[in-house]
């Protein structure tokens, strides 16, 4: 799998993502500065976390207009695989590559803590190493992760099995009104969503920061191992 990580001004989790990808592919991913426009030979495009353009105006809004995003759109149109994490997820919604939007956390504070995610759909390139209902732990770190979408969009997402991950407690119970299990207040406790073809996934938490026992566990690893499996050429 040839992975590329897009770096915008203000991106700050590209190194974490590179470590996770190197761990599963054995090779360093390509780092792509946002001014570039060439994605040829790439199997997976990753939009990593951070504060592109300082998160000024709206998270991801300015990055969505970067030159590279034209190429990312073309890549998506050709059926390419894209993972957006945290700021990357925000950029994907701002680019309309994924539906919905990410509002400020319900309690208006930046949150940095571990959370539990429940896998909602199996067999996608992002979740194939898990079974539906599996629970895994992952850190999250964001100020604007409160997912929202209008009722119709939600119905489509839920109906088509495009909710990839939901915030849950350690036992897998989901309760959208409970701030301990759904810390940022996301609608339906949605933590990650998929595109219609299930090849684009956006999620707020950081599985890439939990791929090493030294850092507290490897709970995030299956996501990356699954991608390698799905995209091996």
């Amino acid at each position: 799998m040839k992975a590329a990580i897009v770096v915008f001004p203000g991106t700050n989790r590209e190194r974490d993502m590179a470590i996770a990808l190197r761990r599963v592919t054995g090779q360093a991913p390509r780092m792509i500065w946002h001014h570039e426009t060439d994605l040829s030979g790439v199997d997976l495009v990753v939009l990593p976390g951070g504060f592109s353009y300082g998160d000024y105006l709206r998270c991801g809004a300015m990055a969505a207009h970067s030159p590279i995003m034209g190429a990312v759109r073309d890549f998506a149109a050709k059926g390419g695989h894209i993972l957006g994490v945290c700021n990357g997820f925000q950029i994907l919604t701002e680019s309309n590559l994924l539906p919905g939007a990410l509002l400020r956390n319900a309690d208006l504070r930046f949150l940095s803590q571990d959370c539990h995610l429940r896998v909602e759909v199996e067999g996608t390139p992002f979740t194939r190493r898990w079974k539906k209902g599996d629970i895994f732990r992952t850190p999250l770190a964001h100020g604007d992760g409160n997912y929202t979408a209008d009722a119709q969009t939600l119905a489509v997402l839920e109906g088509e099995g495009r909710v990839a991950f939901r915030y849950a407690d350690a036992k897998g119970r989901v309760c959208a009104d409970d701030r301990t299990s759904n810390p940022n207040g996301s609608v339906n406790s949605i933590a990650g969503v998929l595109s219609e073809n299930k090849r684009i996934c956006g999620m707020m938490p950081h599985p890439e920061d939990l791929v090493d026992p030294l850092m507290g566990g490897e709970d995030g690893l299956p996501l990356f191992e699954g991608l390698v499996e799905a995209l091996v050429r």
């Binding site: 001004p9 203000g10 700050n12 989790r13 190194r15 974490d16 470590i19 996770a20 500065w33 976390g49 951070g50 504060f51 353009y53 300082g54 998160d55 000024y56 309690d107 504070r109 930046f110 949150l111 940095s112 803590q113 850190p139 770190a141 100020g143 950081h206 890439e208 920061d209 090493d212 030294l214 850092m215 507290g216």
Partner: protein, 734 residues
Amino acid sequence: MNKPVTVDESLAREFGLTGEEYGRVLSIMGRKPSLTELGVFSVMWSEHCSYKSSRKWLRGLPTKAPWVIHGPGENAGVVDIGQGYAAIFKMESHNHPSFIEPYQGAATGVGGILRDVFTMGARPISNLNALRFGSPENPITRRIVDGVVRGIGGYGNCVGVPTVGGEINFHPAYDGNPLVNAMTVGIARQDRIFLSAAAGVGNPVVYVGSRTGRDGIHGATMSSAEFDEDALSKRPTVQVGDPFIEKLLIEACLELMATDAIVAIQDMGAAGLTSSAVEMAGKGGVGIELDLDAVPQREPNMTAYEMMLSESQERMLMVLRPDRTELARQIFEKWELDFAIIGHLTETGHIVIKHKGQLEADIPLEPLADEAPVYDRPSIAPEKPAELGSVHAPLSLDAMLLQLVASPDLASRAWVWNQYDSTVGGQTVRRPGAADAAIVKVEDTQLGLALTTDCTPRYCQADPRTGGAQAVAEAWRNITATGARPLAVTDNLNFGNPEKPEIMGQFIAALEGMGEACKVLDFPIVSGNVSLYNETRMPDGTTQAILPTPAIGGLGVLDDVSSAVGLGMQPDSDLVLIGATKGELGQSIWLREILGREEGAPPTVDLAAEKRNGDFVRAEIQAGQISACHDIADGGILVAAAEMVMASGTGCELESPDSGIRPEAFWFGEDQARYLVCVADGQSFCAKAAQAGVPARLMGRSGGNDLILPSGVTISAARLKSAHETFFPALMDQ
């Protein structure tokens, strides 16, 4: 100059210079200075930049060890951590700005200390912060806590440097003068360290980063003056930070530092362009000429005086090799940052400032530095505190424990650190709360750093000498408790008005204590910062000083980061107490929280015992004999045991105290040089300790989910946690 101002002694006084100091300016210049020249003198000779009250005493601190690469005198301290790598670190205060505008004050404090570290070629890998706030009952405390925490998070999270540790105390002495001390640690290759001494007559002087506005003019002099009602009218000096630009600046500077373009580099911190230009040229023994027309400006019609004194954030000054200037320009343009050649080095030994065709300043650098005032201010040695008489517990052990773990200085800080991104970078091995020091891996190696900040101001108030030594010893102990080897210290000396002999006496005594501890523990001071005049003028004209607060930032190294231990109680182990217990309750948290008294002498600091016990503990951790370790500090043995239980959820059953010591003194005394450790076989472990001359005794057995007192009273981990976790949310989200 736009406004005709008369430069005279009274203006000099307004700028914070004394009459005598102004006289010195006149004799150096041989004429009346221009407004810009007077501005340069006033900021360079401010307490903040010149260390005029403290310099004499700082010279006495131990600063050397075989692993120290650069001690005080550079932008930050540099130590050898092995395998060709260096750790570069420093702590700096932003106390006064954080009182005026807590969010921006704290945010720009973080930004400033980051620049001191990456200016030396290091990638910043961790931030810590040592905070002191007023009484939780004071209504403004909440607003200040809120702003400071948001500001630290807002800046650190955005630049992508994990905030991994720090400390917080509350005390009414900080009501009108909170302390915000920020520390940054960075990593560089030892052969890629950048210094600030300029060299090469004719070489271009280059300005990069944000544009210059009228921010914080006279910030350096403001932070050298005590606070009064006028503080409000000084508000326009507030600076706004731009962490996004800082992030670009870090990446651009590191990219440039990978080339051979840079001759010297210096961040623009307090007193901005003035101090960076003066220091770079001064250290290099060259002259410097600046043309201010070339300075990127944010606002129209700025004067030379304003540009030289502006404290606009996110700016750096560099001297480049002339043949690499274009390469540098391209890198900064790629990162969309302003880049301007604003001058060159000369052989005159003067700083010459030109603006709009006018000569605005021409000052000889040598006397500006060498004749800077140094004061040996009168001091009164602090009185030894009276010993604490006999005291008695008014409540049961379990009731007191629950009250203590819920008290402001001991309550869980999770509310705070959960707003700081502690994992970005993917190298955080122990996050806040998991170990006595934060553990961060050095990327691409097995090396780990152990990082902590410590100080117990109530000890320093009662006995500055003991308090100073204790702060160093506690930092050393916290690093040791993870298994790491303590290497070096950065400090932030926060005190009141040095013109008061009692305050000067506190300062001198605290430094003596620190120096002695550093010497015995082989823990040199490699960088630091002094913040004086931390006082509030009360409406009745009197002033209230803060508690003397020499915050210590400690750094240690682990050759193999996976050998580090945390403080969470491990199941099915023997719990062993290391170190001798007399039951010292003077100035203890127990005395203050349970009996409402702040009295007595702080616990004895026995540096030889500290070293012996610590060296033993570290060796045993490295030998794999210890599965969890926690140093015993505020709140004594029982609070330490409860903290271990809360950290992992694993309980333990405690044994009876030593006979001959009153139970409250045994359980809550704050005797130093002690640890609680989890080991497989307590008996043989204690025997080994005895051989090493280290006091050790079996303290209990871990297991289950409850803390079981010798009386049989049981407190569940969950109950402890709920008491522990109430304070911050209750204070802040009311």
